[in-house]
Symmetry: C4
Subunit: 211 residues, 4 copies
């Protein structure tokens, strides 16, 4: 099976998800003449939106670079990919929950909202783990064999992420803000993991073929 | 007519539908500090969402594999495809209805919601029946002739599904939960029917050409 | 300029519009146990949705077949196309208005809603008129010259549609139902105009080249 | 890295954003028989929608023409592009804010809404500035070298836009309507800047190669 519809479908879902996040912005109730303070009070929504956009954008970069090494896909890749995209579409809801809980400022609700976000992030990273493992064992799908170094370099990224988000869940019980910082760290970590994977891929490719 | 715009348009609709399902998640009304129980009470929405995502995903897998055998399309395929996509986009609404009725727990409303879902599922399967029949009689559209075995193997799948969903409608009058189980069975059945079709296609292809 | 991004962007807009129409379905307010009658009372929404889906689907078929004759596009085609897509995206709102007004059953409101729908339909047909005229005068964009017969055969379609929708606006003042029937006729007429254009295109193509 | 997924993803986001703008149209509350005046009172929404559609459409035209000169992309282009698309998706919210504030007619709220729109527009233009600068310094990504004249001709466009939107922000404090006119001027200016860039590109291309 060729990769074109696989990629078009995935790109479509990423593009839609990253765009509909913006639909969570609703005009707040405000007294005439008081739109400015009402908007400023929406900072949690903007923050949650910016982080989630950055997160989904990074996941797309991963998807884009990682799958560029495939010459074709099989049925299992398609199914694993649907599971991965399922986990990613779930992000829209915790984004709103976090914004809402931060706005109200209630400690228990913030804990709940952050933990839901953590759980979805953990689920996303877990699907990457399975995808990496599956494709490592199916080198025949790749346009050129990737060196073992490549898999060795990236296979612990999802494990690290799952650990970070797991810790964030525990930490959130103790301190909402520590938990939030760990969550933010996890998301920012993805971006650097992406940069590293991207470089490693170029190197592994270079070692085998000058494509 | 080439298949590229046909596939891009279909992929677009599948990608959008599967993503906007998530827009049905709305933050529930909750007392400060009571977000967690309010979220847990949303289990019907999550269940209905997960099933519907799985369903639309399976339908995409069917569409992806099945149409990969076409070298070109004609006007009738385009029109039948629009009808098929119409039936699929309708899923968004019964997904909410089922979630809403399960949340309220009223027996008559659950019956109504499940039957609407059954009807849409029955309609979807019926459009597959017509598509299979049409393409079987237009082998000239295919990139290589499929053996009669292939059509023989798949042509009863939509009939079986229509039967399951028809039974589910009847059963729902007698017992909501039996009806719900039949509906879930029908959706899971699609996934196995897909796996079988996919294998059968590979075999039929292999029999004629080594593509 | 190649046509691929032009087509991908247009397909994207068509696919999104035809799918988000379904977001206008909202669960009605209902007493426990009264979901069924509440849903049956939504027939205007379903009718309006089915017609609008059929309408947008037909417009996509037009776009798909008509632009398949282009080898490349220029800046003006891109701009005219954006205007055409603008007019089409407007359909989402009158679809809701018509459903809402039919539900309330108030005569003046139904007149208003139908006339807004008529105006959007008239605008859409007008953009097709300009597109047809522009491309007729820029044969150099086409992959093979279309005979004059082709333009002669299709150029009056948008004029006819504009006339039908103009009459529908006038008629609606006199009788809402006559106006509604004219609107429905106009939309169904598009489908037959599409079938005719599609056949005419095949013939004009055949006359020049066996592509 | 090839440009196809990069373009498909960007086209997807543009197509979705330009289409979901229409979701901001909501049926107003109205007394039976009073739909027409209620719709006429929505002129700010229609105006804001039409301008925003025109704006996003122009940005797509820029994106389409400008990136057609690239033979491949690198990681930084992908990241800059995500930033650019982020700034563009933000437009959906100020579009509603402006419509809402114009409807209420409160001076302070209109100032707030226009300034938020100005800020987003300023942000968008700033991302174009960085993209132009980056690609000018990475001629190796282009399918053929663009003359220095080309960069000289376009590099001040984003600077001019940033200046216009900056002035619009200041002006809005003094007079809402002057500020609004400057904002509208800025958006219309983009369209003419696009026409000029498009011509300049054709000329620069012509100077080097007859592609």
């Amino acid at each position: 099976m060729k990769t074109d519809r696989f990629q078009a479908f995935s790109d479509g879902i990423f593009a839609i998800l990253i765009t509909i996040l913006v639909l969570e912005f609703h005009i707040p109730d405000y007294q005439p003449g008081r739109l400015l303070p009402a908007l400023l009070a929406q900072w949690p929504l903007f923050l949650s939106y910016a982080f989630s956009y950055f997160y989904v954008g990074t996941l797309w970069l991963f998807h884009h670079d990682y799958f560029s090494m495939l010459a074709r896909i099989d049925r299992n890749v398609n199914i694993l990919n649907l599971l991965m995209l399922f986990s990613i579409t779930l992000l829209d809801y915790p984004m709103s929950l976090v914004a809402d809980a931060l706005t109200s400022g209630n400690r228990a609700d913030m804990q709940t909202a952050f933990i839901v976000y953590d759980l979805v992030a953990l689920f996303i990273s877990a699907t990457f783990y399975f995808m990496y493992a599956y494709l490592h064992h199916h080198q025949e799908l790749k346009s050129h064999a990737m060196s073992n170094d490549f898999y060795a370099a990236i296979k612990f990224d999802p494990v690290r992420s799952v650990t970070i988000y797991g810790l964030a869940i525990l930490m959130t019980w103790w301190s909402v803000w520590f938990g939030a910082i760990l969550l933010a760290t996890g998301i920012i970590f993805h971006f650097f993991a992406y940069l590293r994977m991207s470089k490693q891929m170029a190197r592994s490719k270079g070692a085998v073929t000058h494509d």
